[in-house]
């Protein structure tokens, strides 16, 4: 694909949740992501590095756009999704402490064969949220 249209990275990653207040408490307050915008009953968006995390209420995003609105295609998933956040080893340790302080159950905490550490919790929507060292994907 040399010379093809270049994708520079993932700009938006989506999770589906039921409760936007709970999603804000988790992604905003607990994880420390900056809230960009919220539409009650539909979504709350957060800035994360060069990208954006979109927490949607699937019942709302499955509806077609309003007449006169932008023609944003419908979507909306059910069941546990997955997202992983990049953190340094030091910040992972600090996140583990924060999760403990907040009495969030840590579902798994282990090192991959290449040594990178991953910690897993559930967000309030039941999604599998991972925190990992980026070197997990250093396959070169």
């Amino acid at each position: 694909m040399t010379g093809g249209p270049a994708i520079s990275g993932v700009l938006e990653s989506a999770v589906y949740v039921d409760d936007l207040d709970a999603a804000e408490a988790f992604y905003g307050t607990l994880l420390g992501l900056e809230r960009i915008t919220r539409v009650d009953g539909r979504h709350v968006f957060f800035r994360c590095g060069d990208g954006v995390v979109l927490a949607f209420v699937a019942e709302a995003t499955r509806l077609p756009p309003s007449p006169g609105g932008l023609p944003v295609p419908t979507h909306g998933a059910t069941g546990a999704g997955h997202i992983c956040f990049a953190m340094s080893a030091e910040d992972l340790s600090r996140m583990r402490e924060r999760l403990s302080d907040a009495e969030i159950e840590v579902e798994a905490d282990f090192n991959w064969p290449n040594g990178a550490r991953s910690i897993y919790v559930r967000d309030p929507g039941g999604n599998s949220v991972e925190f990992a060292e980026p070197r997990l994907w250093n396959t070169a």
Copy 2:
């Protein structure tokens, strides 16, 4: 959250698909993402900028890990998810041409109020895949 554990960005974004060959044709061949690894029947992973796109077969990722395997938590969603890829305006135009050449239906192609362009298609799993200029999220 000053001084809290710092998340540097999204490391992994997940979509759920039924057919890994079709997912590879779409994310690998058509979009030009580098394939990292594949486990038949379960997943295929792609590098994308500083992150990774994970295409999972939900029926497989809902199963608990094998005895003796790493304790990776289960997940697996049903229905249309959403992911958005960052591209420059020039690359977006070239992607639009590539999509046309591949006879991929473009579901929407418009400019947001701040001028940023988004193009939407469906991946073979029915997920809403967007290509957008990163300035879409320049809210400062």
